[in-house]
Symmetry: none
Subunit: 212 residues, 4 copies
DNA sequence: AATGAATGAGCTTTCATTCAT
DNA sequence: TATGAATGAAAGCTCATTCAT
């Protein structure tokens, strides 16, 4: 009777189910996860899943939604306007990487499952887009005299891509958060803020774009 | 009946099937692609697929293999040792991004499908790892007096991650190759080659690590 | 819809399925029996078969197991040690032949299907071997002064073979149980217990064994 | 090029194919044998099989037919009217068991495959029936003063059944022909020729028939 | 509120069989 | 004569989903 036939309040049951679902989805992937497996993991019966969530797709969407929200919440501290841009960047990086480090299942479900799943990618792309926007804003506000045509969004796309790649290594336990944050901070702070095609100049004085 | 019922030599049919398979896999994903759909797309019968490739898994593996090979071939020009590191980098970036631009299906199958498919990720990860190693080597060889503790591999991970993120935008038709190559070149050339935590120093002379 | 869509307790459904399976297997043979055919015969859907028995092989094994058990149970009375060997033999024969007479499907599935099916023959051969051993023992215990080199096992093999051949005729409705039991009793009681090569003697009086 | 593309006379090809077919059928059973396997074994192409035999069923029938004929031929010496009944029996037994011993594949295909194959059993049953008739005739002709109601056919059925069971052991290499022939000769000569229900007598002296 | 029982629909895979050369 | 190329048809199996209690 692990879990038994207790009557639980709806909110509790919902979380219990989502917890199980996120676990199994992150372990086996969306398609290789059966509703049976989730029900078993949650110690409830299959019809309960359908009663609460309607379908496998909706259940997965609920997972994405909850984990995405947690993800965004984890990044909130970075938005503190009292901090200098560079501090904000550092906080954002540590928040992001720390979240991945401590919620590997969330990360797997959100990024490695949802993004590759026809029909769910868009939903995740929203969270991702907000992260990219945030990053673009940070880059812009910390750049003095930006080159007129600078496209901070695409820079943010690249930076976030780098961040995700590094996050995968963190989720895999291959590197630690501090080291990763250092690397990305450097990358953001120096590599992205420069002019876009300043070959003739920067090859000689590449630092002019960002140094004091 | 586009294609008809002609008898084709084995080699031709093989390519015809792979073409169809790559198309459909890239459109619908591995799991949501049925062998029927591939057979229909290739204008052949399902048993032919099994006769030539044995199973869905093996067919998918064959797709990965062919596209992966093409991918590697596209990057070959970058290995020219006659070029200066920076030139090699530029060529590599343009080759890579150009390939993605002109073979969006290959990119989708290789990266967005294979990497997320349990059992195939490893196969692709190998190619990816080689790309990372190559990048790390490039970074190292273009850095004078590198900081002793510098981990070029993780830098390469980040850079490749950035490249993949940008490549996705190219595959999505959102940006063009030139712009993306500029961005990544800058990123690689300046952002990654410095010391890892040189705040106090490099913010003043960030160029010492790489400029003449 | 003979049977309808009622909800039945597990144990009942199990028997219902096995009944249908034994019927269809005995009619068409293992390979020419489809799971669809069994499901239809049992008035249920195919997934139920898989839910309860896992696979076609396991379903067939379950048939063998149940019918084999019934078969063994039918022979139990013969083991009564209070009976003289000859009585035991008579009871065994009548039990055996009576069972075949009244459970022709069981007989067909067990002997004509299972024994010829690679992978299941062994399972049945075990029961058969036990029957042979039992017969050998019976023969030995009812023989006074057995010839030293007498191989009772091979005798039992022959006798059981004769019994099976006769049983086939009973299952085919060609002869009746009494007649068959008489024949086999005679065969066992007189034909098998003698010396193996008594040429010189019996070739002259071959009739002494049976004539008045 | 084992076999190559030689033009062979029809008769030779036919035997070549049948040899291969009998081999593979006896190894894997009818259903688990594919036309591909037979073609490969015969070193020819599949369409040749169809050209010569029309269908898998017809090919199998041809196997049964050829092997059955050989089987019957092997028994021919036993019909020599110059021999005494007992000699005829001995010859028949040795012919039969010797054939099985030296043509195990034939035996397997004819008895263990064909008999259990819906649609072919009848065809084999013919050969078998002739064997049974022959046996019945031998029994009858060697019995003096047969009991009026004696059914020699069912006796022959039992005896042939015993012979087949013993033959299986020979095919399995468990016993040798001589020993088996001795046993069956004894069985036929003494066990089957008597009255069918001689209870009152033999229950008192059951051993008189065989003890010294 | 909760679940054991049940199924429609679809997928991968395998042949026996035939065509076109 | 001989075969590489091709397929129609069907089988085993799974799963998301629902009904009846």
């Amino acid at each position: 009777m692990a879990g038994g036939t207790k009557r639980l309040p709806r909110a509790v049951r919902e979380q219990q189910m989502l917890d199980a679902a996120v676990d199994v989805f992150s372990e086996n992937g969306f398609h290789d996860t059966s509703m049976d497996a989730i029900a078993t993991r949650a110690s409830i019966s299959k019809p309960m899943l359908y009663l609460y969530y309607g379908s496998k797709d909706e259940l997965f969407a609920a997972c994405i939604s909850r984990e995405g929200q947690r993800f965004v919440e984890a990044l909130t501290p970075a938005g503190d306007p009292a901090l200098a841009p560079r501090e904000q960047l550092r906080v954002a990086l540590e928040s992001f990487l720390g979240f991945v480090d401590q919620h590997r299942n969330s990360w797997m479900v959100l990024y490695r499952q949802a993004l590759s799943q026809q029909g769910f990618a868009g939903q995740v792309q929203n969270s991702r887009d907000r992260l990219i926007e945030l990053t673009a804003h940070l880059l812009e506000s910390s750049t003095r005299e930006p080159d007129p045509g600078t496209d901070f969004t695409i820079m943010a796309v690249a930076l976030v891509g780098a961040g995700e790649a590094v996050a995968d290594r963190i989720a895999g336990g291959e590197i630690d958060v501090e080291k990763a944050a250092d690397l990305l901070e450097n990358l953001a702070w120096r590599g992205l803020a420069g002019k876009k095609r300043p070959d003739h100049l920067e090859s000689e004085h590449p630092e002019t774009g960002y140094s004091a």
